[in-house]
């Protein structure tokens, strides 16, 4: 293979070469990329799909390849299931540097090895220069529940809301990189499979990884789904000082910045101590941030600040961009 992806890698002989290249780099994976699909050999009962578009492709703490693996793995974990297999679909822009592609595929391989996960089948497409920005990945992950699947419908007033770690690291790392800031923190991009331990041991109602839109978005979605208000305590939020700084400099709210390795856990309030303790033991930095309140006609998320004042934490209505005022 030469130095860049060409449109000819979209079919015929060059596509075969591209598939061979991918297969060789995914040492751990049972790939059947050349056939139309793959055969599932273990029982699965949960599935999640996501497309991954991010710029820059490489960032402190990860890259689009790692993100595509952990992103779908985490969605399966959030449903209380152990990831078993994955499919991988790659869309490339003509002219994409082969070196970057190699780094991304190697990163996918590395993450798959860590997780002992296999790619069952895949797909590649090459688009004309200018028809797509660089690379887009899609992964579909399927898993086996460790107990009956988690769902928002389990949530009840009084449930505790626990964050598994600090917020906004991924979003802040990406924004900082785009603006050329040098930061001493990394994206939290990582697989959350260890949370299955919590699911097995406690009465977990639901879990959500606080990705796009951040903690504020996830809480709002859950408030709307359950019809309950949720109240959280600003003081309890763990925000890395660097994340805070990036947010202040660019005029964005860290509560809306994406996490890629921090989840929101809703559990029975009696289990909150146990969950906190176990998370601590596993090396997380959990924080007990609030409660689910009573049913409400307009379900909202309330943020209680350090002066004890409550205000609405609204759903995001637009993408976060740097502001000057």
């Amino acid at each position: 293979m030469d130095g860049t992806i060409t449109i000819h890698h979209n079919s015929g002989k060059r596509q075969t070469e591209l598939l061979k290249f991918i297969k060789e780099h995914l040492s751990n994976a049972v790939i059947s990329m050349e056939e139309d699909g793959g055969v599932i050999t273990q029982p699965v009962d949960v599935v999640s799909t996501d497309s991954f578009t991010i710029y820059p492709y490489f960032f402190p703490g990860g890259d689009i390849g790692k993100l595509a693996v952990t992103g779908s793995v985490n969605d399966v974990v959030m449903l209380g299931a152990e990831p078993i297999f994955m499919t991988l679909s790659i869309i490339l822009e003509e002219g994409f540097p082969l070196e970057s592609f190699e780094r991304i595929v190697s990163s996918i391989d590395n993450e798959l090895r860590n997780l002992d996960l296999k790619i069952l089948c895949g797909d590649t497409k090459v688009m004309n220069r200018g028809s797509i920005d660089g690379i887009v990945l899609n992964t579909t992950c399927f898993g086996k529940s460790v107990r009956s699947p988690l769902s928002v419908s389990n949530i009840e007033p009084g449930n505790a809301v626990i964050l598994t770690g600090p917020i906004g690291l991924h979003g802040a790392a990406i924004m900082a990189m785009r603006k050329g800031f040098n930061v001493d923190f990394k994206s939290d991009c990582r697989a959350l499979t260890s949370l299955l331990e919590i699911v097995k041991r406690y009465n977990i109602k639901t879990m959500r990884d606080a990705t796009r839109g951040g903690v504020a978005q996830i809480l709002n979605e859950i408030a709307v789904s359950t019809g309950c208000d949720i109240v959280i305590n600003e003081d309890m939020l763990l925000i890395q000082e660097g994340v805070k700084s990036v947010a202040e400099i660019l005029g964005v709210d860290p509560l809306y910045l994406a996490c890629e390795g921090t989840a929101v856990i809703f559990c029975d309030e009696h289990d909150s101590d146990g969950v906190m303790e176990t998370l601590n033991d596993m090396g997380f930095y959990p924080s007990f941030i609030g409660y689910v309140r009573e049913k409400s006609i307009i379900p909202r998320v309330m943020l209680k600040n350090r002066f004890g004042v409550e205000r609405v934490l609204p759903m995001l209505v637009e993408e976060l961009t740097p502001r000057i005022c």
Binding site: E248, G251, I324
Partner: protein, 74 residues
Amino acid sequence: MCLAVPLRILEVNGNKALAERFGVKLEIDVRFIEGLKVGDYVLVHAGFAIQKVDMDSAREIEKAGERLGKYLGK
């Protein structure tokens, strides 16, 4: 209005300086600031330092928060 944050100066290179806040380092434009030294704090708006910040005074002002806290009984 007019978002601006205080940053600490790490290096000065003519019109440009490397500034920092809690480990976040960025290049800023310091053409409006006279006699800038490493260690100074500046208020930065849209990538430009627009004024020096006196940190002792800043800390003095911050104490108002504590007073309100007491007033509200927290």
